[in-house]
Symmetry: C2
Subunit: 431 residues, 2 copies
């Protein structure tokens, strides 16, 4: 027979010997943790833990207060941030996902990074249409209501800007994972397979490209090869369960899994079918890779395998010796992440991390190095991802040998975090 | 050589014969759709589709405007809603997830339903502690910072209130899926396995239950058998990537996969280990199933296999004949959904739906009946889910034979939507 539990139950007798420190001092991995007892730290902890706090004494927030909720005021710093010197205007600019504050692999819609070329268009869905024209048997025009009546799929995919890490090609510059890697997010998209729409329009035999065009003031447009268009692209209407956010292309955006984010045209209004690439501005003067010999690689859409440690990182210094969380994200635009290794010594020795499921193609994958304890010494932390094509994420020196340092795009090099004896973490370049 | 694309390209020549109606008229399934051409509806559609809308002519929203974003103003109706007559106070009440407006299986954090017994506690994480006491070798006290240093897992789980559908036991009452089924949500939780914490405290051999207690003014507490505590429970710190929302237990909530939501104690402050159930208020006078003979079933935590069609539904009438989306959600607290069938005639004949992946245990599963077309006739829509224990979701008449109509908990009966010739949808009870 148990005694009835009530608020007064939290007045635990003094002699229960609460021990909050042995756990962290000894870490979880060693058997010493289980042997450690004692009263260390208990008196201080008790004072805080055994009081009846004010929120246990008064009614809280009612169920009608926030029809659409928002984060705690204590998390008000977890927001998208931009970099002042990066671009001339705020309407043609970028902000960054606060990766340091996140776990799991889903990005909340409110903090998915934004990249606009003419600002986020505020589209009235009742006035918006999607046209399919060009080399088709039947040009088609869809209202949003029409699209909402067509067959849907729901898939998780990462979206990464081609310029993610672009400021880091020559050297370590930005001291935070939000800025070095924050042009990536990952949500569950729901929408109509593009293949269905193209089949309905009837693609003419000689057509081998499409051009996709957005309804924003930049008239963003890109060419996509027909093979990709007929593969896994989605005309998306929902993200993470709800309708798209304005800054992510509401009411219609194209999802081009594994390909650079610039091709995921937002406020999608037109798909033209043709027999060659359009050579649009954003695939000629921009979003090409300037090589050491002065020539430019074009149509390098697929985002190569990549990873980064999100804790610890410059924004998350290590709070003390002992047990600490080592976690990060890995992804590949060419397939599925098969393995992530972590190094403590700048890439000389590696430990295999645990991949948290579900591990899905062209999706962020969360990894953890379980049982990690910090002994207070300097560490050069790296993570290295592999995918199911056999590709291994390269060190920057290897990448530079091939690609030089002229480009601002497609940097998928291994990131180094230098952990100082203070526990602070810095972005550094080795070798 | 392609012509350069620009905004003016959307002025498609009249003779391209835009056809927006043949697609929907014929549906996607039949070959007639591919043969259909013509200009039907093109002139009206063109007027709307080929103009240059205002948002294509001016700069949009800049990247610093919304550090933490929110939905489009056109989606402002997609919110949690409560029912006026359901409870006496708003602090001890419930609101409902707008399932009708969602797709995929992830619920955005802002519209995950809430259930409070004393309002949502606004807890200062710097002042919050989690105590483990009772029949343990080492009573422990953790700050939130301590918990953030311990090993983590990230898992998707549904959370369903035991009273979901509780108003529907005797008859069809609430005309909307938000109210009949909206006490469920599904997010990716990240936190520390409860097993780790209990092992660190050292559970004494005779201990076979835990009691979990929240920091709200209700002092919500429940008993959980040790076998479950050591299985898949998580002391969660994050949901859908970011830290928990206030109304979902910030900074610490217990995740009890597959079990009724009442046991997922929010603002978790204490775990007591003992050798029997506590017989707390919320597991004796409430959250028990009153049977026809006047006795009550207790400790009926596991949420049985269940499903519901979320489109069409009372909030989503069918807009017209032809192609339409038929989709819904299925889940089981005992395992993994293996199959969902859909009936058009109130359960006489069934068609197998497509399950969208990833299909995971104790997680919402999205299903679609592809190629469905509505011919304008009356339909009695039902969905029926099965799980990997072999269990089949029952009709209400079957459920009532065993359980009677006294309970307000654990209604997992098949839902019937009556589609009228107008396309409107009503909640009805058959048989």
């Amino acid at each position: 027979m148990r005694k009835k539990s009530s608020n007064s139950d939290i007045n635990v007798p003094e002699n229960e010997g609460l021990d909050r420190r042995s756990f962290l001092r000894a870490g979880l991995a060693g058997s010493t943790a289980l042997a450690a007892g004692g009263l260390a730290g208990a008196s201080g902890a008790k004072a805080a833990g055994l009081d009846i706090p004010i929120w246990s004494q008064q009614l809280g927030i009612d169920v009608d207060a926030l029809p659409y909720g928002k984060p705690s005021v204590y998390e008000s710093g977890v927001v998208r941030r931009s970099v002042d010197w990066l671009t001339a205007t705020r309407e043609s600019s970028i902000n960054f996902t606060p990766l340091y504050a996140l776990d799991g692999f889903v990005t909340p819609n409110g903090i998915c990074f934004e990249r606009h070329h003419g600002g986020a268009a505020e589209v009235d869905p009742a006035q918006h249409h999607l046209m399919i024209n060009g080399m088709v048997d039947r040009p088609l025009l869809f209202s949003v209501e029409d699209l909402l009546r067509l067959p849907r799929v729901s898939r998780f995919f990462f979206l990464e800007c081609a310029a993610n890490g672009g400021m880091e090609w020559r050297n370590a510059q930005l001291n935070g994972v939000q800025y070095t890697h924050g042009m990536v997010h990952c949500v569950q998209y729901t929408g109509v397979p593009l293949k269905l729409l193209l089949e309905e329009a009837g693609v003419k035999p000689k057509a081998d490209w499409i051009m996709v065009e957005g309804g924003d003031s930049a008239g963003m447009n890109r060419s996509i090869p027909m093979a990709k268009a007929l593969d896994d692209c989605i005309v998306a209407l929902f993200m993470n369960g709800e309708r798209l956010r304005v800054e992510q292309g509401y009411p219609v955006r194209l999802v081009v899994p594994g390909f650079e984010g610039n091709m995921w045209v937002k406020w999608l209004r037109r798909i033209e079918v043709g027999d060659g690439a359009w050579q649009a501005r954003e695939e000629t003067s921009k979003y090409t890779d300037l090589m050491p010999d002065g020539r430019a690689r074009r149509f390098t859409w697929e985002m190569d395998c990549k990873s980064v440690i999100t804790n610890p990182c410059p924004e998350n210094p290590i709070p003390g010796k002992g047990a600490n969380v080592l976690t990060g994200l890995a992804w590949s635009g060419r397939g599925t992440v098969t393995r992530v290794d972590v190094s403590m010594d700048g890439g000389r020795n590696w430990l295999e991390a645990r991949l948290e499921g579900p591990v899905m193609p062209k999706c962020l994958t969360r990894f953890y190095l379980d049982g990690w304890e910090w002994d207070g010494s300097e560490v050069y932390l790296q993570s290295r991802a592999m995918d199911d094509t056999g590709y291994v994420q390269p060190q920057m020196v290897e990448l530079q040998k091939v690609r030089g340092v002229n480009s601002i795009y497609h940097n998928n090099a291994i990131q180094t975090w230098h952990v100082l004896k203070s526990g602070e973490v810095e972005n550094v370049r080795l070798g």
